[in-house]
């Protein structure tokens, strides 16, 4: 007998409140579906939790400092000597993860300011303004902490990339990229997706994830606020998932709830600063199709290797699945290439397990999206014109 399972958000939330929801991580569910079949698994499981913990460069935070007496309209703002945006209202700002500290200092940036704030550290605020009739003050030099500013929320325009490429280097010299240290003559290759645990590889067409989905964001509750920038749906699919960078999400979340354990200010040699963030997305098992897609394993998810020593025209050289990549070596034309991950699988697992605990304990309810993500998205290049 084929049972046509169909659950609703309300039914699942009811079970979560009663602490009776059955929750698996996207890793654990692979075996369950293999053992019991997708029908049975879909009946049994209510929620699958996913996770990823890696560099997400397009991240940053909105902050409101509160007014000093007399007040200032800040137009030039430094936080621990990192420039924050001065084009918002008087004491609002946005600090971006990749903004680097003012020279001659190095190795620190907006990402580190965000991590330090969440870790409870005091941050040096130095700001200047024009001095106007309503905001007479021209500068302020003080220290702030997360507790004593009004609002602080991450707003990341592009996070949790749905898959990504594999980087290698065919040239004769070591190159330093945002995909890490790439040794000469293809002595290594790096990859960056959490594969079978990665949020958007478990719901590849965003059947359940939408605008308003409540998520785990760096140890606090966050939301999917919009499609991410460079959202595209045109990438070739194998086993139902794209073989390269595809969909992305814009995420938002209150920094005051976050745990610095799930944030890392990064200083990537030869590139600059970035922010590693732990993000987890719960997937409600509404029916067996959703279950089927959550059962995808590393063996079934592929990524393409490209040569980062080429300035342009990086065509795919080979395709590997994540089980091969995670084994530590892949083969290319008979030659063994050692592999490194850029995102933390241990961290991804920690995120998925923590989110699972929250749901098990009835502390985290699912939020039904208020709007679907686009079904189609194409990437445009930048044209150079004279006018």
């Amino acid at each position: 007998m084929v049972i046509n399972v169909a659950k609703t958000y309300e039914e699942i939330n009811e079970k979560i409140r009663a602490k009776k929801a059955v929750v698996y991580t996207a890793e654990e569910v692979v075996d369950l579906v293999k053992k019991k079949g997708v029908e049975k698994a879909a009946e049994e499981v209510d929620v699958v939790t996913t996770g990823t913990f890696g560099a997400m460069c397009s991240s940053g935070a909105f902050l409101n400092f509160g007014h000093a007496d007399p007040p200032i309209r800040m137009t030039n703002i430094l936080l621990n000597d990192v420039q924050a945006y001065g084009g918002l209202a008087a004491v609002d700002t946005y600090i971006g993860a990749t903004q680097m500290v003012e020279a001659p200092k190095t190795g620190y940036g907006g990402a580190h300011v965000i991590e330090d704030l969440v870790a409870g550290k005091r941050i040096h605020l130095h700001a200047w303004g024009p001095g106007t009739d309503c905001y007479v003050r021209k500068n302020i030099d003080t220290y702030i902490s997360l507790d004593d500013i009004n609002e602080a929320y991450l707003y990341n325009p592009r996070n949790i990339y749905q898959n990504y490429g594999v980087a290698t280097n065919t040239s004769d010299r070591t190159i330093h990229t945002y995909m890490g240290k790439l040794l000469p003559k293809m002595r290594n290759a790096t990859y960056s997706s959490a594969g079978q645990l990665s949020p958007l590889l478990n719901d590849p067409h965003c059947d359940t994830i939408g605008i308003g989905t409540r998520i785990f964001l760096a140890g606090g509750e966050g939301y999917v606020s919009w499609q991410g920038t460079q959202f595209k749906t045109t990438v070739e699919e194998v086993n139902g998932v794209p073989v390269g960078g595809s969909r992305t999400m814009a995420l938002i979340g209150d920094m005051k709830q976050m745990d610095a354990k799930y944030l890392r200010g990064l200083d990537i040699t030869g590139y600059g600063t970035s922010l590693a963030i732990g993000v987890g997305v719960p997937i409600p098992i509404l029916n067996k199709d959703v279950m089927q897609r959550c059962a995808i394993s590393d063996e079934e998810i592929f990524a393409e290797m490209v040569d980062y020593s080429l300035p342009t025209g990086r065509t795919p050289m080979a395709r590997y699945n994540y089980a091969q990549l995670r084994s530590g070596t892949v083969e290319y034309q008979g030659k063994k290439i050692r592999t490194s991950s850029m995102s933390s699988y241990a961290g991804a697992r920690d995120v998925a397990e923590t989110l699972k605990d929250w749901i098990d304990n009835g502390e985290f309810l699912l939020n039904k999206p208020c709007l679907d993500l686009p079904k189609e998205g194409k990437l445009k290049g930048l044209k150079e014109r004279s006018e």
Partner: protein, 134 residues
């Protein structure tokens, strides 16, 4: 057995004399892992010694009596597990495969016993979790 020592010296040409003494007088097999010598001839070297325990102990006593500063160490690398988030970026750049993922937990670990202190992993780590002792 095998032991590792940091040997610091004030004079030039110490590297040759140290290894010569250890080989000829104590039948030890020294392997210089790393040496740093300053312009004035002073410096330090990291050395791995294979041989009988008694010979190693006596060899080191001899070096001390000659004015060298001798310190035993286990690894010449430190790994800050609080900063490290087990991304794995350092794993494939280590020539001695001393950095690895624990197969069960996927936490990144360093085998200090096989690390030769080459420093290749330092620039690969974006949170500066790895540091060399020397």
């Amino acid at each position: 057995m095998e032991c590792k020592y940091k040997i610091e010296f004030e004079e030039g040409a110490a590297q040759e004399s140290v290894t010569y003494i250890l080989v000829s007088e104590f039948s030890l097999k020294p392997n210089v892992l790393k040496a740093e010598i300053d312009g004035d001839g002073s410096g330090k070297m990291l050395i791995s010694l294979k041989g009988e325990e008694d010979d190693i102990v006596e060899g080191m006593e001899k070096l001390k009596s000659m004015g060298f500063k001798v310190t035993e160490f286990e690894g010449h690398i430190t790994h800050d597990m609080d900063r490290c988030f087990s991304c794995g970026a350092c794993v494939s750049v280590c020539p001695t495969r001393s950095i690895y993922h624990d197969k069960g937990t996927w936490i990144v670990k360093i085998n200090t016993g096989t690390c030769i202190g080459c420093g290749s992993c330092l620039g690969a780590c974006s949170v500066k979790a790895i540091n060399l002792v020397i």
